[in-house]
Point group: C2
Amino acid sequence: MGRELTAKGRATRTRIVEGAAAVLRDKGVAVATLDDVMARTRTSKSQLFHYFPSGKDELLLAVAQFEADQVLEDQQPHLGRLDSWESWWAWRDVVVARYEEQGDQCPLGSLFLQVGRSTPGARAIVVELMRRWQESLAIGIRSLQAAGLVPAGLDVDRRAAALLAGIQGGVSILLATGESAHLRAALDQGIHDLGGPAVATG
Amino acid sequence: MGRELTAKGRATRTRIVEGAAAVLRDKGVAVATLDDVMARTRTSKSQLFHYFPSGKDELLLAVAQFEADQVLEDQQPHLGRLDSWESWWAWRDVVVARYEEQGDQCPLGSLFLQVGRSTPGARAIVVELMRRWQESLAIGIRSLQAAGLVPAGLDVDRRAAALLAGIQGGVSILLATGESAHLRAALDQGIHDLGGPAVATG
DNA sequence: CTTGGAATGGACTATTCGGTCCAGTCTAAG
DNA sequence: CTTAGACTGGACCGAATAGTCCATTCCAAG
C-alpha cells in the first residue's frame, strides 16, 4: 500500500489532523461533525475522504495518535530527566499546569468512546502511550535509586504503575468535577511515598 | 413540580431506567438509540417521552444516577467497615473483581461524554459520588488510626484523595487496555503505604 | 506541450434517529 | 357508573450528517 502523497498532499493531511484535533477539543467528540472539520481546515468533503478513505473513524484514529504523541511531548524535558527531587517536582508542576489548562476536555479519552475501545488500532495507541509513560517514570525512580535517594529495595514497577494510575485518575476527576485536588494529591503523595523530602503543601 | 406517578407508572419508569442501563452497557452509549431502549423494555416512544419529557438527555442522566448509586453499593459492606487490615484487603478484592468483571464498558464515564460534562446535573452526580467514596475511605483510614494500626500523623485526606485517584486511574486503564495490573498496583501500593503489613503479591 | 494521476470543489443521496402528535386504553377517586 | 387524567401505541416528521460521485484544477515527469 504505497502511499502516494505529494508535498502539498502531506501538508493538507497534516492541516486536517491538527484542525480536527482543535475542533474536537472545542466542541467535544460527541457533537463534532465532518462539516466542522471542513470549515476549520478549509477543506472539502472529498479531501477528507481522499486522505482518510475509511471515513470518520480513520480520521479520529489519526487525531488520537496525534494527541497521544502530544501528551508525552508536553511533559518534556522533565519527564526524560527525573534524576533528582527538583526535577520530579518540576515535572509535577508541568503535569498539573498542563491538565489544569486543558480544562474539562479530554481529547484522548473521548476519542476512544467514539471509535470504540476494542478497535485494535485504538487500543494499541493507548497501550503504547501508557507503556512509554510508565517506563519513563520507572527510569526516573531507578535514577533516584542510583543516586541513593530512595531505598534500593523499592518495587519500582509497582510504584510506577501506581503513580501512573494516580495521574490518570486525577485527570479523570479533574475532567469530571473541574477540581485538580485529586491530581495534586496523587502526584504529591506518590512522589512523597518514594521516600523523598516532605513537600510544602500549597 | 408535583410528580403524578401511579404505582404502574413508577414501575414502568423503573423498568425503562434499568433497561436503558443494560442497553448502554451492551452497546455502548455512543451507538445506543431510543429504539434499542424501546425494544429492550417493551415500551413505546410516547412512554419514553412521557416519563422523560426533555428527551434522551434526561433519560441518560437518570441512568447515570442509577449507575452511580450502584458503584458504592457494589462495594458494600466492605467499604463501610474498613476498620482492620483484613477488611481493607477484602474490599480491595471486591473492587478488583467488580471492575474486572465489568470488562471494558464504563457506563458512567461514557455517559458524561454524551450528556456533556458541564451539564449541572451530570457534574453534580459525579461530584457527589466522588465525595461519598472518598469520605468512606477517609473514615476507614481514621478507624485504622484509632486502632493504632497506622501513624496518627498521617494526612488522612490526602491519602484518601490519592487512593481514590489511583482507583479511578486504574479503572480507566483497565477500560482502555483490558489489563487490571494498574488497578491492582494502585490499590496494593495505596494500602501498603498506609503503613500496613506487606501484601503477598500474586 | 502533454498527460496521467494527485488534489480539490461541491452537489447529491441515503439513512438514521430524536422528537411530535393524536388517538385510544386503563384506572383510581368520587 | 362516570370521568378526569395517567398511561400506552405507533405513525409521522424533519433535521442532521456520514458517505458517494463526478467534474475540474493542479502539478510534476517525460
